[in-house]
Symmetry: C2
Subunit: 147 residues, 2 copies
């Protein structure tokens, strides 16, 4: 189990797993949560400024969270997400792309009100198969201190 003490400020982790972005999933997630033409309709998407289907913000955030969870060597004793800041879409993500996550620990502190817990802030980035930055965010979460 990973605890507060394992999240050392400045530590960088590059996920090993590559997430294949398929046309089927871009359209399915788009249809379910964000049915803009450029997420769901290949013909309309060609006429859009993107020139083709692109993954939705919901899809990218979901992939980011999934890869961050899986990228850890063991489970983290996370108690709760506190929030997310600066979600940015840096470049379009298209069917056929493969994404990896890179996570950097930004800072951490022990909770003032609950000394058995700590708060860790990380920056997470999604990179495509050309190592281009396509998505990033910063998140804070509450995590147990080592018993």
């Amino acid at each position: 189990m990973l605890y507060f003490e394992d999240f050392v400020v400045g530590k960088e982790t590059l996920g090993r797993e590559r997430y294949p972005v398929t046309e089927a999933e871009v359209r399915e997630v788009g249809q379910r949560w964000d049915p803009q033409p450029f997420h769901v309709d290949p013909v309309a998407a060609e006429q859009s400024p993107f020139g083709g289907l692109v993954a939705s913000s919901v899809h990218l955030f979901a992939i980011r969270v999934a890869l961050s969870n899986r990228g850890l060597d063991e489970p983290a004793a996370a108690v709760s997400a506190l929030g997310f800041d600066n979600l940015r879409l840096h470049a379009p993500v298209r069917p056929g792309d493969e994404l990896r996550v890179r996570v950097v620990v930004l800072d951490r502190r022990v909770s003032g009100s609950r000394p058995g817990l700590g708060i860790v802030r990380t920056r997470s980035e999604l990179l495509n198969q050309r190592d281009e930055l396509v998505f990033s965010d910063e998140s804070a979460f509450l995590i147990e201190r080592r018993p």
Copy 2:
């Protein structure tokens, strides 16, 4: 079609649709993108600080985007999401809750580099059936000006 000019600063829209949060969907979205025990395992969730299953951040962000899309009277001429800030989880969302969205236009400006487009910033909130704030974020998007 809704254009840049229709997003008047200060305008507030309360969605009519209520989104039922089901245990099946909490667990399915959790299993797929964020398999923490308190999103996927009812028994383990009872032992967690939440005292039961709660919806994941990915799920809440997805519901927020879905309800914002559907809450508009007609489609918006949105070109692209630019980013999201200050995503906050204010209170746990549990199976059986029903969520509505409230959207407030924070500010807007014409794009400097592309005068046919504008940038609109909104704050979006999810409220439960007791009108408690459970989730909020701020987002910016690029949208066409009225032709």
